[in-house]
């Protein structure tokens, strides 16, 4: 029952570590395969079903630069699990080192208020919320690219940019309801 801390360990040289948290453990595998293909920097990918992470590996675990919560919108459990995991992160992570990635957002089976719930959660934590098309190879590679862009900044590999700076630009906001009658 330990809380994950962002600065408790030293960073590696030209190394970035990303932690993918997904309850269903479907999308994280294909993402991880694509992420480690990156040649510019060494990318370590750690996978987890939920937080907290087990105590046993704590010594060998590298410093985690970015925590990504993957939420499958078709399942309520996926959202609840991510929400429950949040409290095992140190507050320091919420300064730009956490992001949410949502899949199946355009699915007809998704109740609209669930997406709103995720949005509100991400907005309240001032984290970016990314959408991903996990069904197509293009979608996966695009999601990978976007995660890498954030990861590089979060790991301090991009000069003149910090995680907090980027997350300040990309943090989620709750969009207005376009269906409101006031909208013309």
């Amino acid at each position: 029952m330990s809380v994950l801390k962002p600065f408790s360990k030293l960073p590696g040289l030209k190394t970035a570590t990303i932690l993918l948290v997904e309850r269903e453990e479907q999308f994280q595998q294909s993402l991880a395969d694509a992420l480690v293909e990156e040649t510019g920097v060494t990318v370590n990918v750690r996978l987890a079903k939920s937080l907290p992470l087990p105590v046993e590996n704590e010594e060998s675990r590298p410093r985690i630069d970015l925590v990504v919560f993957i939420i499958n919108l078709t399942s309520e459990l996926s959202f609840q699990s991510a929400e429950a995991s949040l409290k095992y992160l140190d507050a320091g992570y919420f300064l730009g080192k956490v992001c949410f990635m949502v899949t199946n957002a355009r699915n007809t089976l998704v109740p609209t208020n669930r997406l709103d719930g995720v949005r509100k959660l991400a907005a309240s934590l001032q984290c970016p919320l990314l959408f991903a098309e996990d069904q197509t190879p293009d979608g996966v590679s695009n999601a990978t690219e976007r995660l890498l862009a954030i990861l590089k900044v979060a790991a301090g590999l991009v000069p003149m940019a910090t995680a907090l700076y980027l997350s300040n630009l990309t943090r989620c906001t709750v969009p207005p309801d376009i269906d409101q009658p006031s909208f013309d």
Partner: protein, 733 residues
């Protein structure tokens, strides 16, 4: 084959009671029968044909329970239906069997569920079935199922004139059964009394989603009748109403896609529309067909003086018949040809545009925001083609549809940034002017999140898209601007009226937004020259807003764009920056002149002039005077720091000779100018004569922007003997 025969003699069977079907079937000419015999010989053993024969001949009151023959035949028909679909005669036979309740209501539902047409549905069969509805023995759930079936296959019904005659009858089901589906609005013709009845009904049962949906459809058709405010045209109350058949239909059509067209050859006399429709193949733009069928056309042309759009083949014809053109049954078909779009453009009737808008909004939402599990990527080819067609329509019309706008605002909030990127960005650049109060929420927030987390190519794409958007807005402005009251009526059809100051605010918001994106984007991407090039594209539009488009607004680029362009390592960027600054100068001077000329002319703020002068001074000092780090320049560094850097003659390092972008030209010039010299002294170019040659050499390399900038900003007389150069940055104020 009785039903086939009854098909060929439709008019009498329609009016007579349904039970004399077999009688009317016998009155048929002999030759047809002989040909039929031939065919039947071959198919005599076909169990499907036998099954159909069974269903057409079975006696009323035959028991259902334990009837193996029925079971066997039904299974056979189902198998064919789900694999190949049923041909028109089979549809007639099975529908007749089911609706007549000859064997009770239990097989009825089963038959209805497997009625999947392979090509078209004969209108007669539907009309007869509706007649059976009136008998009143059919359970309500089955009636509902039948109506849903009709709606699903509505596009495949070969003619609709007789169906129209009984719309009122169908409409009565709304009140009796609370059965409304979204397409009923298209089915049921607009009538004032119907709307009243609906409103009445609504006050009785409250705001039911399906009623609201139908009313919203009516509102689209006939806005003056429905005054109620309806939340959104697209809250789909009946998203899956036709699901029992939709997937099966899709599968059947996919499987014999080519077959359909070949079998339709025999039906060409009837209709061409059995190709494929949006309903079944989702995003196909429907073929143009009129609401009246072909046979009736000759009559209607003479009596009602209506010309279906499908008969118009040339622009001259269009002009001739402009006043009596009948809109097609499906508005989506208008997207197909330029002729119909021309018609749409000149037609005074708003309803045509509203209907098309409604159809578009529905199609876009259904296919891109509410996907089925696998649908999204199976149909990506279709989606691509549909969007391409939509884009070409937009280019043709030079005007957007509001439904696309609403769709995009929603889609951007769930977009991953790569799905159909070129098409989505294309649609986005066609968005009409958004008021400055809304533009931030609807457009900038989602775009900002996408921009900063996406790849370089997305950033470039978005820059291009925003540039196109600005170009469109400015073009609209220059076309629609009204001189007298400074009012702009943009978008003649949807009649969005924006005041000039409102429009200026929107443009200003957009330019500032791009400035923010560009500044941080260049920073994150390490001043990538590709991104810089797209950003400079945008500012090439911005700097000419006053002269080219008559918009009295001048916005300077932020330092985050100016300095990366000035210090860029590629000469093209510096040249383009010089061109942009030159155009700013031309715009500002002419604005100044106009301001003096007319008292009431607009006012450009001191701040803008100040910024412009500052930039020009920096550029001239940097490129020309070698006074890079002087007091009052943009870049200020302490003397000690500069000395510590060990750069010799640091103040020279960004002049036209030593600038990283032009160094290679200087070296090349030096070699050409003094071919014999062993030691290279670039500073010798600075002398008056070679400096002039060097400039001319640079200008012949195609750096016109630089040339214009130098000629307009620097009054420069080469004075012999003077090593430096005279300069004067012309000051605007």
């Amino acid at each position: 084959m009785a039903a086939k025969l009854s098909l060929s003699g439709p008019s009498d069977s329609d009016t007579s009671s349904p039970s004399d079907q077999s009688v009317s079937g016998r009155s048929v000419n002999r030759s047809l029968r002989i040909a039929e015999k031939e065919r039947r010989k071959n198919e005599a053993e076909d169990p499907f044909v036998l099954a159909l024969k069974y269903f057409s001949d079975v006696e009323p009151g035959t028991p259902v329970n334990g009837n193996d023959q029925l079971e066997r035949n039904l299974v056979c028909v189902e198998k064919v239906a789900y694999s190949k679909g049923l041909h028109p005669e089979a549809i007639s036979i099975m529908l007749e069997f089911a609706m007549s309740l000859r064997m009770g209501s239990s097989p009825c539902v089963r038959v209805l569920k497997c009625l999947i047409p392979s090509s078209v549905v004969p209108q007669e069969a539907v009309v007869r079935a509706v007649v059976w509805l009136g008998i009143g023995k059919i359970p309500i759930s089955t009636q509902v199922l039948f109506i849903k079936w009709v709606l699903t296959v509505f596009d495949m019904i070969d003619a609709k004139d007789q169906l129209r005659a009984i719309y009122g009858f169908i409409f009565s089901f709304v009140t009796e059964e609370n059965l409304v589906c979204d397409d009923l609005g298209i089915l049921v013709k607009m009538r004032v009394f119907r709307v009243r009845k609906l409103l009445e009904l609504q006050s009785k049962v409250g705001r039911q989603p399906f009623l609201m949906h139908l009313l919203s459809l009516y509102k689209v058709f006939c806005p003056e009748l429905v005054t109620l405010s309806i939340p959104s045209p697209m809250k789909n109350a009946f998203r899956n109403h036709n699901s029992p058949w939709k997937s099966a239909l899709l599968a059947v059509q996919k499987r014999n896609g080519s077959q359909v067209s070949s079998s339709s050859l025999s039906l060409t006399a009837k209709d061409k529309t059995n190709s494929r429709k949006r309903k079944h193949c989702h995003l196909e733009v429907p073929a143009l067909n009129s609401a009246v069928n072909k046979q009736a056309q000759t009559d209607s042309c003479s009596s009602r003086k209506v010309v279906p759009l499908v008969q118009i083949h040339s622009f001259a014809q269009l002009l001739e018949n402009m006043h009596r053109i009948e809109l097609p049954a499906q508005m989506g078909s208008l997207l197909g040809s330029s002729l119909t779009l021309q018609f749409l453009d000149c037609v005074q009737d708003e309803s045509a545009l509203l209907r098309l808008n409604s159809w578009l909004g529905y199609a876009l939402h259904e296919e891109f925001l509410f996907c089925n599990d696998a649908g999204s990527f199976q149909n990506s080819e279709e989606a691509l083609q549909f969007l391409e067609k939509l884009l070409s329509t937009l280019h043709f019309r030079q005007e957007g549809f509001s439904s696309i706008e609403v769709f995009l605002y929603k889609f951007l909030n769930a977009w991953d940034g790569s799905l159909l990127r070129p098409q989505i960005l294309g649609l986005m650049s066609n968005i009409p002017v958004v008021t400055s109060s809304q533009i931030g929420q609807f457009l900038f927030e989602p775009l900002m999140q996408l921009f900063f987390t996406s790849s370089l190519f997305f950033k470039c794409g978005l820059m291009e898209c925003l540039n196109n958007m600005l170009l469109k807005w400015l073009t609209w402005h220059s076309v629609y601007a009204l001189e007298d009251d400074l009012d702009i009526s943009l978008n003649s059809h949807t009649s969005i009226n924006i005041t000039l100051s409102g429009f200026k605010d929107s443009v200003m918001e957009l330019v500032h937004f791009v400035g923010r994106l560009a500044t941080v984007g260049l920073q994150l991407e390490g001043c990538h020259s590709l991104l810089l090039s797209f950003i400079l594209d945008f500012y090439e539009t911005v700097c000419d807003m006053f002269l080219k488009y008559g918009l009295p607004l001048v916005v300077m680029p932020p330092p985050g764009v100016f300095y990366p362009a000035l210090f860029a390592a590629d000469p093209v960027s510096v040249d383009r920056l010089a061109y942009i600054m030159y155009r700013y100068k031309v715009n500002l001077t002419s604005a100044k002149r106009q301001e003096k000329l007319k008292e009431q002319a607009f006012h450009i703020s001191r701040q803008t002039f100040h910024e412009f002068n500052h930039y020009v001074v920096v550029m001239v000092n940097c490129l020309w005077n070698s006074k890079m780090f002087h007091q009052g320049m943009g870049v200020q560094l302490g003397e000690e720091v500069l000395l510590k850097s060990n750069v010799p003659q640091y103040s020279n390092s960004f002049d036209l000779i030593h600038h990283p972008a032009f160094l290679s030209y200087a070296v090349d010039f030096h070699q050409k100018c003094w071919p014999g010299r062993k030691d290279m002294d670039l500073n010798s170019i600075k002398h008056s004569k070679p400096w002039r040659w060097y400039l001319e050499y640079l200008f012949t390399q195609g750096y016109d922007g630089l040339k214009q900038f130098v000629q307009s900003n620097i009054s420069w007389q080469p004075i012999a003997g003077d090593g430096g150069s005279d300069d004067l940055a012309t000051q605007q104020r």
